[in-house]
C-alpha cells in the first residue's frame, strides 16, 4: 500500500505497470483517474488549485487503504493525489488496486475513492471567468460514502 501527495504529474502507464508486475499472483488491476474539467456549475474553469493539510492527508489516505484491505481480498493499492495549481485535462488523482480477481479490486477501488472524497483533507479552489471560488462539498459524495457504512462485505 502506498500514498503519494505531489505537485508534479504522474505517468499513469508506468504506475499501473509497476502495480501489475509486482507479483505473479495478481490477476486484476483496477484504476480510477480523476481529471480537471473545463466547466463546473456552468462556468468555464481556467485553473483548479488544490490545498491540503500535510501529515493529516497522508494519515487519512493510509487509513482508507488499510480499511479497504480489511474489507476485500486485495493484494496492493496505490493513491497518488496532486496538489497545487492544475489546468483542464490535468490528472488530479489516481487510485489503483491489484488483486487476484477483478470483483474485489473493483469494490476496493471505488471504496477508496468514495472515502477519499469525504475524509481526506483536500480543498479545491476554482479560477473561473468570473473570479476565484472555493468548491462546495457535495451531498452526493456523502451519500456515496454512507452506502459503504451499512454494507457488510
Amino acid at each position: 500500500m502506498s500514498v503519494k501527495i505531489q505537485i508534479e504529474d504522474f505517468d499513469l502507464g508506468l504506475e499501473l505497470s509497476k502495480l501489475r508486475l509486482a507479483s505473479p499472483s495478481i490477476g486484476a488491476v483496477v484504476s480510477f483517474v480523476g481529471q480537471v474539467r473545463d466547466v463546473n456549475d456552468g462556468d468555464t474553469i481556467n485553473t483548479l488549485t488544490l490545498e491540503h493539510y500535510p501529515i493529516m492527508t497522508e494519515k487519512a489516505l493510509v487509513a482508507i487503504e488499510s480499511e479497504a484491505k480489511t474489507r476485500w481480498n486485495i493484494i496492493d493499492s496505490l493513491i497518488i493525489h496532486r496538489v497545487g495549481t492544475l489546468q483542464p485535462c490535468d490528472q488530479i488523482v489516481l487510485v489503483a488496486v491489484s488483486g487476484a480477481h477483478r470483483g474485489e479490486a473493483f469494490h476496493a477501488c471505488e471504496f477508496i475513492m468514495d472515502y477519499l472524497k469525504t475524509s481526506a483533507p483536500f480543498w479545491k479552489k476554482e479560477a473561473t471567468e468570473h473570479g476565484e471560488r472555493w468548491v462546495e462539498a457535495k451531498l452526493s459524495d456523502d451519500a456515496a460514502k454512507t452506502r459503504w457504512l451499512n454494507q457488510l462485505k
Binding site: 493539510y53 494519515k59 472524497k117 483536500f122 480543498w123 479545491k124
Partner: protein, 85 residues
Amino acid sequence: MNIKVLYFARIKEAVNYSTEDIDLPSDITTVTALKNYLSLRGDNWANLFNGKQVVRAAINHALVDDLAAIKTGDEVAFFPPVTGG
C-alpha cells in the same frame, strides 16, 4: 494551556491566519468551547464559529467532533468540508 491552531481553505482566508499559538484560559477544554472562544474575536470570526457554518475540526491530525477534548500541546485544525478527488 498552550495549543497550536491551524486554519485551512476558506477559513484561512476569512480569518487571515494560517497558524497561531494560543494560550487558552483553563476553562476552554473542548472543540466547542474553543470555537466559542474564537467567535468572540470579531465579526469574521463570529461568522465562522457561531455554529451556522459547517466547520470541521481535527486534533493532532485526526478528525474529531465538537465534543472532543483539547489538552495542552495539541494541534487543532479548523477547515471546511473536504473537496478532494
